[in-house]
């Protein structure tokens, strides 16, 4: 936001782009299409995007996230919490997402029930 106006920006949650449900994937890609002025018509090839949640750059964890040290997760969450609040405020102020932040589910979950003064 330091450089580009909100009208030129689109926020996407990659979890939506890779969601197992096709409807969620299509919704996210549809937002992208509208952002760049494309109408989804004959030009498009439905289903080509996100045919699978797996992608070429995926990596396995030797230690799955749920087994990683819990205190690290707590530290990170605590440190990032106010930053996420600021992000949510910024997103709302510039109308980069709806007021309930449904376009960014993780951020919606992050700020719900938390004091983001």
């Amino acid at each position: 936001m330091a450089y580009f106006p909100a009208s030129q920006m689109l926020l996407l949650d990659p979890a939506e782009l890779l969601a197992p449900e096709r409807s969620r994937r299509d919704a996210a890609m549809g937002r992208l299409a509208r952002h760049i002025g494309l109408s989804r018509g004959a030009e498009g090839r439905d289903g080509a995007a996100g045919e699978s949640a797996a992608h070429e750059n995926s990596r396995h964890y030797i230690l799955p996230p749920q087994e990683q040290p819990a205190e690290v997760g707590r530290q990170l969450s605590a440190w990032l919490a106010p930053h996420n609040c600021a992000l949510a405020a910024l997103v709302r102020r510039h109308r980069l997402a709806s007021d309930d932040l449904r376009e960014l589910p993780w951020l919606q979950k992050e700020v719900v029930g938390k004091e983001c003064a």
């Binding site: 580009f4 106006p5 926020l11 996407l12 890779l18 080509a48 990596r59 230690l63 993780w106």
Partner: protein, 732 residues
Amino acid sequence: MRLGPRNASPNFSVAGPGGSEAGRRAGMRASALLLRAVVSLSLLWLPLMFWYRPAEPDAAPPVPLAPGTATREDVVVVSQAPGQCSHRGTYFATKAAQTKLQLAQRRGWRLWIAGDESEGLASAAALAAGNDTAAASQLGLLLALHEARPPPRWLLWLDSELLVTNPSAELPLAEYEARGTQLVLWGEEGGAGSDRLVVDTAVLALRVGTWSAALLAAALDLATESTARSRHHTGRSVSALLAELLRAPRWRQYTQLERDRPLFTHWRAPPDARTPLSALGAAPAASLPLATSFRGCGLCAATAPPASLAACRAALMRTFTYTSNFALRPLGAQHAVLGSTHVRPTKDGVDDDGDGDAGGDGERGGEWLGKHRDSLGRCFASLVVVGSQRSGLASLHGALKRGWDRRVRVHAGEREQHFFSMDNHFRLGLLHHQRLFHPNATALRSCTEPRGSAATVHVELSSSYFDYPKAKLRIFSVMPRVRVAVLLREPVARARSAFNVRWLTWLCGKLMWSRPDCWAAVTGEEVVRQNQVGPFQMHAALKLWRACTGGGEGKEGAAPRVSCLRADYASKLRDKATQELAALRACVAQQAPSAQPPANLGGDGDGAGGSSAAAAAAAAAAAVEAISVPPVGGASWGEGVRWDACLELDGPMTGPKQLHKKMEDGAFVWRSMYQVSGGERQHLGARPTRPPDMPTRPTLVHLLPSRSLPSGAPERLVGLLPGVADAVARPR
């Protein structure tokens, strides 16, 4: 010494050819006696000759070559361009020359930058044919410019390493003329009781007339051959010549030592004597000097240690952009930050979005600038997708490549180009970038499918564009109207994923790219060596493999034990998180010392505040940037903190390799903070008020990549810009 017949000239012979031998000998004795008498008398007179000093010639009143009352300031700004320099000296010297051009344009003065004609520069030799000295030295050049037609009223000399810092600085030429002043120097009398005159001729103003011509001629007579002809003279040599001459009343009575106006300062001056630049955009204070010398930058010779050289050049660039803002403003543009040659549109001062920054979401800027940049970027991407590392960029890239929409075309080549984020890539030039979309393009703006056309949407994706320090500014400067899509992954998951990839790299090297569970394939030292990506990684991988197979000795053919790898992973993850969080807390503490991070900000009692070394490094980095961004206080969790400066991501010595290492090896937490705090409109500070007499012509070379800048100085540069060259008047 015996003066005898051998020393006598035959003409001394007083006897004729037909005289007797005795007469001839008598004549010779008489001649010798006469000669001895003459020599003796001469020796007696010698002390008297040294003692005697003829009176000063009558000091005729100076006669100006351009007589009459000064109805306008007819000044020629004079300087020399250094020769071709090593490193980036020529580039910096060109910036110095540009500020002189801006001064001349702003004040309606003429400009003369002397140099080799082979470089396309004006040469004094062309003015005074056959006068090699004029072509070479400061004194000769000033003397030769007395022959300019019409003669200027004043010559204003500015050394080549000087940058004009205050184009509005007062220069009361009419007052000088009224007092009969012919030479204005910014110097000092010597200390108490001393008759020494200390002058610095980096800046001098000379009233063009008979007096000044005689002074310069006398100085040239005093000059040694090397001083007179030295192209890269030192100011000291000319200063010494003038100081010597000014001991005589004839010259001194028409010279004024100007000490009331801060017209000249050295960048290396002590802090208390140094006039700091105002903050970005502020109108120059009355105390801001006309010019600042950057002699310490070693423009043509790297004589200073690298660190101070880099700091000097960084200061030079900040000064240049500060001055350049005054020329850009009427075009609706200004430099985005001090020190960066990128420009951005200015805002029109209408707070139409209520955010209090007197600017709407849209950057309006000037009509000319808008057209220029639209034209510049017409063959670039129309959509840039960014997102921090491990945010799904590869997935989206794959989807677009697979043909999600045939109207969408992803750039050629590597998946991530990092063109705008890495200095070494950006230096390749915009044409290089344009060829990602139009491989056959031979010139900028040359493409068959301009961006935004209905036929094609060109897309570029790079993770580094999201959080590498310079990327956003560069993209904005080149493509201010590009669409941007930002991938925002849940930040804790992103940090974990980024650390996971790094850990896999440490163990597997290139194997990481061939199988997701690459650790299972690390079965021996030879495997590690074959897949290593660098000596440090190989060392770490061997150490871990040995530790996790065969009890520290390694066991060929065996994969490391998973339990051992997991323990290593957990240990390194803890260490990395602790280390990075401490550094981030140190940034908060250092930039907002009155406010400590609250306990709930990851504060687990493990020493919030970080190491003193980290704090010191952060303070040093912040000091470097202090000139452009004032410290922001009062924040408890990092709001307004300049993280990139604090973490030394954007320091003067941070090259592409260092930056890449810092970002990929040590910024896992920071890259999950999504740069919200301090990022919003931070760089777009106040702006200078528009002076009524601001020239309307631009200097736009900063829009070009540095490699395309021609060597030499501004007359060549303005030649690139139609409509500007005629603004550079030359002595006729």
